[in-house]
């Protein structure tokens, strides 16, 4: 449960960073499994790639791309916070990270069409 005192941008950014990391960690075994199909010959890998062309899988892929950008930008934010001299730009960095995810997500969607 998110307490009232936690309902602010900094907490949600930290939560977004961690949850996106968790989802990406769950995806990675499947990713490596599919890549491993190449060892069994090109037909097996080709089959998996064809399967991933389904609309639902493409939508999941879109989610994955958004999560990846979110994780990357919020991770970079932490590095900036830890290593760069800053004072009042904390929320701007969060906004920038969220906007980057949105833009990359939209680009992915346009690319699908």
């Amino acid at each position: 449960m998110i307490r009232r005192a936690q309902r602010h941008l900094g907490f949600f950014a930290a939560l977004g960073h961690r949850l996106s990391g968790l989802f990406l960690a769950l995806f990675l075994p499947a990713h490596f499994l599919v890549l491993g199909l190449a060892l069994e010959g090109d037909a097996a890998l080709e089959g998996a790639i064809r399967w991933s062309d389904q609309p639902l899988v493409k939508m999941a892929e879109w989610g994955l791309v958004v999560l990846l950008t979110l994780h990357l930008s919020f991770g970079l934010r932490v590095l900036v916070l830890e290593f760069m001299p800053w004072r009042d730009s904390r929320k701007a960095m969060i906004g920038l990270g969220a906007a980057a995810s949105l833009v990359v997500g939209l680009l992915f969607l346009f690319n699908l069409g």
Binding site: A5, Q6, H8, G10, F11, A14, E82, P85, D88
Partner: protein, 240 residues
Amino acid sequence: MTDETLTVEIWRGKDTGRFETYQVPHRKSQTILDVVTWIQRNREPALAYRFACRVGMCGSCAMTVNGRPRWTCRTHVSKIVGSGGVRIEPLRNLPRIKDLVTDMTPFFEKWQAARGRFEPSATRSEPMASIPSDDPERRIVDAGIECINCGVCHAACDVVTWNPDYVGPAALNRAWTLANDQRDGDRAGVLKAVSEVGGCHACHTHGSCVEHCPVGLNPTAGIAGLKRMTLSALLKGSLS
């Protein structure tokens, strides 16, 4: 809540207890501390709470109000009451003594653990240190020096809740001001103290401290500064 009456729930007891409900007259420019004082004087003489200056200087009246840590003497009822009432509890992350009073001992022990005390570099018979007000280090100190030790940031911090060793944002903010104070005689000692387990590197940078600080300080920035200073000291070999 009607126009004239506030419904106020107050925690009674220690770790176990219950919320008691009171009807309090709603007045113009009324603060949460006014509400608690009215209840203590008119309804519940045994109600325990702490305050001193009533003007946001002493930092002794902080409580949890509708789920958020706040300084109650400067929190106007009209700003926090929407359609509901007011629920007042003691601060989180500190041992409870009775009702709204918490034991601040661990809070100040953590100040000591972060070496939050000034170590003089001169005696009183020597001339006073002359530091220009526009000196970069002095400006850093000035930005963090106005802490009133209310414990609001300590109560708001998630890492303080999760990690009993973590000294917390108030202690680290104090350490940050000392690490930049040219008059302090043991600035390396400050960096060493905050590099220990539970020091600045335990901070997760959620920013709850800066979000809730009633006097508008930015402990998160200070803690990040300590992280950079300690890393630099480590690389220079001056941390051991």
